[in-house]
Assembly symmetry: C2
């Protein structure tokens, strides 16, 4: 029952702010479902066991090939000079579980030297194709007519070869022919992601041994370090160096339930969107520690109720954004822009685009007629097992010389930068470079602090939860410093 207070909160932050279609596109909605499940004790917090890997890792036979996955051209796409691929990787022949990926090679003459990056979105249950590729860091975005694509000037494949994976099975175009597979959790997801990666490298062997990074946001705060941990363990057991993991980067990331929670309350009060009194009462009367298994007190529940009522109408992913009130189907002209140049209605265009038959055909997606439309977040995935924290994994990655960057769009209220600051503090890291602004194009891109042992914290100024959507230039700059192994610049001159 300890999650009751959280549930009363997130029950109010629902999809009711999204007008037209019946289901929900929001990663916040998926986090709500997770917390509900925790309330009903449907969530286990079992730990990953290394020995589970042996039985799962199946190196792909000659079942697929790179050439067959080549996307000749996406419908409505402008001409480009880089190659794109899309297709399925089978991760479980017995259950017939298949992961859909979209891969954008680097648009760069030295692409063969540039790193390989895997991007994962969160939820749990949200699509890296719909979010990451189509509204955040991919090479194209979908126009308001839901038919035309336009270039994203700040696509991350300007600096790396980027794979977008829809994970776990049940998300987007990924599916299983064994429906019980859709009831899943952190352990299964991280193992499937490892198997995917190993088999993908069979199909794209030129990336074996290439500098490899994993990045993601939101609930990928779990996926990314857990996959990284599996890679390290598997490399150790198999003495295989095909996956040359160098670093991970997670944004507005769920990493440690206790601090994630209290950081969210503080954030809203600190931004004038909850009363200082209600949040002070939460501090006084609630206990979010994972050790605490009693019911929350009535005072805690009352304080949370006040908080929830106040924050309910705020779009949690960008507290300054306008609601998408005007959406009424695709239009030739884009709707008026929000507070930033990102169109808050983009999710609708993407959904319409990815459900078009010719688009799916061009992408080699939905080849088996999945009995549901593509949605940005999955309605079939039931997440039933989750860690309460990934700080242990992060600690181990750092100890194994894997760089860790934790970044945060500073306008996100759902998993805000305060949560990340609090979580980092739990690790008691030693400061290497003190808190300072970082710059791009003469402007403050955000703030950063680095710690001994390879850990970096960075905010992105003016960005919501989906950082590359709201601040594409700043996000690309952050990414290039991350994969370049260079600190974020402390001066406008550089």
């Amino acid at each position: 029952m300890k999650w009751l207070v959280v549930v009363s909160l997130v029950a109010i932050i629902t999809c009711s702010f999204f007008p037209a279609p019946g289901h929900c596109r929001s990663q916040a909605e998926k986090l709500k479902k997770l917390f509900h499940a925790k309330l009903r004790n449907e969530i286990k917090t079992s730990q990953f066991k290394a020995e589970e890997m042996d039985s799962r890792v199946v190196v792909e036979a000659a079942g697929g090939n790179k050439e067959a996955d080549l996307i000749v051209r996406l419908p409505g796409q402008p001409l480009v000079s880089f190659k794109q691929y899309g297709g399925y990787i089978k991760v479980d022949p017995l259950n017939d579980r298949n992961m859909y990926y979209y891969f954008a090679e680097a648009q760069h003459p030295e692409k063969d030297q540039l790193p390989l990056v895997l991007w994962l979105n969160g939820g749990p249950g949200c699509s890296s194709l719909g979010y990451g590729a189509m509204t955040e860091l991919g090479p194209f975005r979908v126009a308001s007519d839901a038919k035309t694509l336009y270039r994203n000037k700040y696509a991350w494949n300007r600096a790396a070869n980027v794979v977008f994976l829809e994970s776990p099975a049940g998300v987007g175009f990924s599916y299983s022919n064994t429906s019980t597979d859709y009831t899943t959790g952190d352990v299964n997801t991280s193992l499937d992601n490892l198997v995917f990666l190993q088999n993908w490298l069979q199909r794209f062997p030129e990336y074996k041994g290439r500098d490899f990074y994993i990045a993601g946001e939101s609930y990928a705060g779990h996926y990314v370090p857990q996959l990284a941990r599996n890679i390290l363990l598997n490399n150790l057991r198999t003495h295989d160096t095909s996956i040359n993991l160098r670093g991970i980067m997670i944004g507005n990331a769920v990493i440690h339930d206790e601090t994630d929670n209290i950081g969210m309350y503080d954030y809203y009060a600190n931004h004038g969107m909850a009363s200082p009194e209600s949040v002070a009462a939460v501090h006084k009367h609630c206990n979010f520690s994972s050790d605490f298994t009693d019911d929350q007190t009535d005072r805690c529940i009352a304080a949370d109720r006040d908080f929830s009522i106040a924050t309910a109408p705020i779009f949690p992913y960008n507290i300054y954004a306008e609601d998408c009130l005007l959406y009424n189907g695709p239009t030739a002209a884009p709707l008026p822009f929000s507070i930033t140049e990102f169109d808050e209605c983009s999710a609708y265009y993407v959904e319409d685009y990815l459900n078009r038959k010719e688009v799916q055909k061009a992408m080699h997606a939905n080849t088996t007629n999945i009995p549901r439309p593509w949605t940005a977040c999955s309605d079939v995935v039931q997440y039933r097992e989750a860690s309460t924290s990934v700080l242990g994994d992060i600690h181990n990655l750092l100890a194994n010389n894997v760089t860790v960057w934790i970044f945060s769009g500073d306008m996100d209220g759902r998993v805000p930068f305060t949560s990340s600051q609090y979580s980092i503090k739990v690790m008691k890291p030693t400061i290497e470079t003190k808190f300072h602004p970082w710059y791009i194009a003469g402007q403050v891109g955000g703030y950063t602090e680095t710690y001994k042992g390879g850990l970096t914290f960075a905010t992105v100024r003016g960005a919501g939860h989906e950082v590359p959507s709201y601040q594409p230039l700043r996000a690309l700059s952050l990414f290039m410093h991350f994969i370049g192994g260079t600190p974020l610049p402390n001066s406008k001159r550089f």
Copy 2:
């Protein structure tokens, strides 16, 4: 010496971020000067004495008339249906001290019933014409060619008759022929503003007895309640009801030095732009109480230094704004917009516009060839006396049935909403309507809480220091509820 810590901060927030011209347009710079003067013990904190009024209040003889002040048309102005006036009101015949005002009659068929509103900008030393009228709530804004005016759709004269006063003498077009008048402070300013108002009503007698409100921002947090207090005292002494004061409204307002200061530190840490550690150290080692007259400790100074270095590159008036890096003289096309649709370079266009001879002629301004150009903030005003708090005045206004609204653009770091929240808490008011979002056009306009006795607190979401610049629709809505005597709506439906 107690201000040393503050000075070390504000010394870094200088005009160096404004590229082209040599002097400074920023109200933050003027606040810095004030704090510097306090450091050098050049600021008295003398209290206003009611008996000073008798000798100062000189009701205007037939020296000016309304018809002569009519502005037929401003250069570059689109056609409008309301009348504008501009001219001088003498407030001291002996020293020849003259206040420039600009008056926009309501653009409304019932303008004769609509209230009279006086708007004041802060600094101390900044112009209500340049800021308030030309970039915030006035009927026109200056285009990037510095020659053309365009309509502000959300001008406050849609709801009221609005006077903009450049105060004290030395600001903008207001001047004195006795240069010692430029060394001034709260007492002189509030008395001159009262004399101005009385004499202005001689020239515009149809506004005698009209519902009257005073509004302003920033350092006008002093000007507005102090003028209101003078009006009440004068009405009481003279039994004159010409000035029918109903309410005051102040935004991002300097009102109580101690809480204003600590609220600013907290705000930056809360927004990820100062390290939590440096601000925790300020809390621990600094004392901003007006009772505290010792030097700040070395630890305080060190903590403030860390804070100052981190916040220095942030534009204090809108922490998410882009710097105006591109300005290189007037241009036919506007520069790329900032994070909101407000052009951060507007101050340059306004300065160029108001220094044009034909503009001054049309406005009946600078009729005596003031020996300096018009600037948004004055370089001649020396502010040498100031209250440490206006909470006492606010308390007295409420006790005399004068409504008080304290509002705050939630993106302002200079005098942030946290400062206002802390200051209101000092007054220990009784909550009437609990903290809740308020709505306009289907969106959350901000948050509000009301208190017994006529006090309202409200934030404006997504607005910097100059609220009507950054969020014109929300600001107009706030203003209309203020003068309408209606609470801000707690539901989207209304």
